[in-house]
Amino acid sequence: MSGRTATAGASFDRAAVVSWLRDQGVYVALVLLVLFNLVFTTNFATSGTILGLLSQATPVLLVSLGLALVIGTGGIDLSVGAIMAIASAVVPLYLGYSWPVAVLVALLFCGLAGLLNGFLVAYVGMQPIVATLALFVGGRGFAQVLVDGQLQTISNGSFLSLWRAAPLGIPLPVIIAAVMAVLVGLVVKRTTFGRYVLAVGGNRTASYLSGQPVRGVLLAVYAISGLFAGIAGTLATARLAAGDPSQIGLLIELDAIAAVVIGGTPLTGGRVSIAGTVAGALLMLVISATFVMNNLPPTYAQILKAAIIVLAVYIQQGRRKV
């Protein structure tokens, strides 16, 4: 009798723990890991290291922001890495006109690529994973064709300062990513569009029958995802000082999906956490940095990341019994 009551109590506590972990786990993990590094990792507690890490995180972070919206609608975008490659190919082609033109044209290409994804999903009715797989496969190829498969080195100082400038000591890419994160967070929390994203992800038919512009919303989230991949690709190009479509953004979609999921945005859609996504992206990066800076084999970092992903998905599904 008493044993049974204890089980009931324990199961209630377990539910509460799971729900708390689902909402707060990523922040706790990030804080703990950073504290660990501040204490035990030599040279971690310097502004140079920390700002450097933040800069490194910006491409994944930007890609994750757009992806979080796509995932919020219950979709997925596998093509973000390929779209970064397109940006990286286009920028050097147009740098001759001045760097703002090059950046704008690159973003235009990337936005169009995103629109194509959105069109396939919203109007053709393809499954998101298939629709974006097309561009995942073809996008990088297209980018390499644009530049004949060559690495294009860049010497335009103004363009390169997109990565290197540091107003008030804060690297420009970090500022850009922070502004974008706040913007997307605001979009999710406060705007009509944000509500539409969650409703479409929560129950597409219900959203449609409530008169919501389902197709427009889908089109928009993929376009936004493409655009963010474009910004990420541009920054990565500036960082490398070269357009290198064969390498830039390679496999970044996996890190980005992981960041979004760890951050508490379920792949089934209907819920989006931007703060969680930011923390998720940072967590992945700090894990790698922890291993590298302590001279541990980075392969173990990958295993740890995998474990965290599985744990995060398990916690999110904690409520489901079957």
Partner: protein
């Protein structure tokens, strides 16, 4: 004492608490072998929670469950089923693409000596099972190809074939046609003869009186009555459920007569609506303040017609006018702008957004009006939500509670709030009282009458002729996608309506129309 001995399932003083709600408060419930026991109560009275405690979905905070005299604590519905307690839910839990036989023997397929599935034997045994319970279906056909009613029957046969000693049926008839309900009752009587105890949950009171011997009434998580059903007249049963006095319940909406006197101008005129299969040339006019019923069997084109008016079903031809203006909506968005609102039949699949809050669900259609420059006005939103939660008496812990956690009746009220806050001119309701309990049903019916009185035009689909007649000024009858009859005034009675729905002569449905799915 002898009662004790024959109880097959007993729940003793069970308490179950959820955050903010005491779902079960010291509830005791006893089921004997060979009895059909009605479990009734309003939404949120605790019926579902009680079933879930019995079947191991929830663990009780206090109290005990005894099965066959032994204390049990199942960790999952599967464990309960293995022990001999089968549950049949409103939703059909079958695998759509697998055959009837495969579904019946899922996980316990007969094997050949090589360990492979013995398909021949499986089909034979499946056919025997179906025949034993009088269900007609091709055992090789994929479940998906069967009518929804037949699917439900297969699910029931599957559940009872697992050597169950207790069968719990939660609203088993909500998707069944009348003749299928008869089959179900045959199955239940067979079960009773086999010594099985049946717990029967239904909002259809006639059914309870037809099939159940005993009744337990729950209200606000407490047992308020237990006894023989025959000793509890219908009105008293309702009064017990609602916790009100009998005369209060007896008062029915008298708005009917008053409405007939007011002939408003037409607010909705749909002409010659034609789409791929249904509707076929349907025309419907609705005047201000009028409730027009839309009747017909499942598959008669009722829902398609409603969706066509609302722009959610592509039309080949036809026009829709609201307030004399051509609107011809090509999407729900356009329909809503012109003053139409549509409450879909399948609340779960098409209505609610289960993980979003009550607030988000209420404002789903109103978002464009609540927005300034793309931002949602929090003040306007909260005012609106507050107003409609109060007006419709929506019971939720807070506006932040996910709507999927509410009872069926409260979910339906959230859906109604979503549309009423749009101040529509025409409200199209597809089965507005389906799957909600008697109390909420009465509230919804009352609300519909009030709305009509305020000048709204209402189109209403309802499978229960009695309810449709009660609510409607005029009933349009559909068969095979076309209008076959329109009944109003003195012609609008149950006999005429049922006759028109079934087709052929009013007394005897001898024609083959409407039986298409039996083959």
């Amino acid at each position: 004492m002898s009662e004790q001995e024959t109880s097959i399932l007993e729940v003793r003083e069970v308490t179950k608490r959820f955050p903010g709600v005491l779902a079960l408060d010291n509830v005791s419930f006893r089921l004997r072998a060979s009895e059909v026991h009605a479990l009734v109560g309003e939404n949120g009275a605790g019926k579902s929670t009680l079933i879930k405690v019995i079947t191991g979905v929830h663990q009780p905070d206090a109290g005990r469950v005894l099965f066959d005299g032994q204390e049990v604590s199942f960790a999952s519905p599967r464990e309960a089923q293995e022990a001999g307690i089968s549950t049949i839910y409103q939703e059909i839990n079958l695998i759509p693409l697998r055959s009837v036989a495969q579904n019946l023997f899922l996980g316990r397929e007969p094997r050949t000596s090589l360990g492979l599935t013995d398909t021949g034997r499986m089909k034979r045994e499946a056919a025997e099972l179906l025949e034993r319970y009088g269900v007609e279906a091709d055992v090789s056909a994929p479940v998906r190809s069967l009518g929804i009613g037949v699917q439900q029957m297969v699910a029931i046969v599957k559940a009872v074939s697992l050597e169950a000693r207790v069968v719990i049926m939660d609203e088993p008839t909500s998707s069944l046609e009348a003749h299928e309900v008869e089959t179900l009752f045959r199955v239940i009587r067979q079960l009773r003869e086999d010594g099985v105890g049946v717990v029967y949950v239904s909002h259809r009171l006639e059914e309870l009186y037809e099939i159940c011997e005993r009744v337990t009434v729950l209200r606000d998580g407490k047992v308020v009555h237990e006894g023989n059903l025959a000793e509890l007249p219908r009105l008293e049963l309702i009064a017990t459920m609602l916790g009100r006095e009998v005369p209060e319940v007896e008062q029915r909406t008298a708005a009917h007569a008053a409405r007939e006197a007011r002939a408003g101008e037409p607010v909705l005129e749909a002409h010659d609506l034609t789409a791929y299969r249904a509707p076929q040339g349907v025309s419907i006019d609705v005047r201000r303040g009028e409730v027009v019923g839309l009747a017909g069997l499942l598959g008669s084109g009722r829902t398609e017609t409603a969706k066509a008016i609302f722009g959610a079903q592509p039309l080949e031809s036809g026009t829709v006018e609201v307030d004399g203006k051509d609107v011809n909506p090509d999407s729900p968005g356009a329909a809503i702008k012109s003053g139409l609102a549509f409450l879909p039949e399948d609340r779960k699949a098409e209505g609610i957004i289960p993980d979003l809050s009550v607030r988000e669900n209420i404002i789903a259609a109103a978002l464009p009006r609540l927005s300034r420059g793309g931002f949602v006005s929090k003040k306007a939103q909260d005012e609106l939500v507050e107003r409609f939660m109060t007006r419709l008496d929506i019971k939720a812990a807070s506006p932040d509670q996910p709507v999927g956690e509410l009872s069926g009746g409260n979910q339906q009220k959230v859906m109604l709030a979503r549309w009423l806050c749009m101040e529509p001119k025409v409200l199209i309701l597809d089965e507005p009282t389906q799957g909600i309990d008697v109390g909420a049903k009465a509230e919804v019916q009352q609300l519909i009458a009030e709305l009509a009185q305020q000048g709204l035009g209402v189109v209403m689909i309802d499978s229960e002729p009695e309810e449709l007649i009660e609510a409607s000024d005029r009933v349009v009858v559909l068969r095979d996608g076309a209008v076959v009859d329109t009944l109003s005034g003195d012609d609008l009675d149950e006999e005429n309506l049922v006759g028109a729905i079934a087709g052929g002569e009013p007394s005897q449905p001898t024609q083959d129309g409407g039986d298409g799915d039996e083959r």
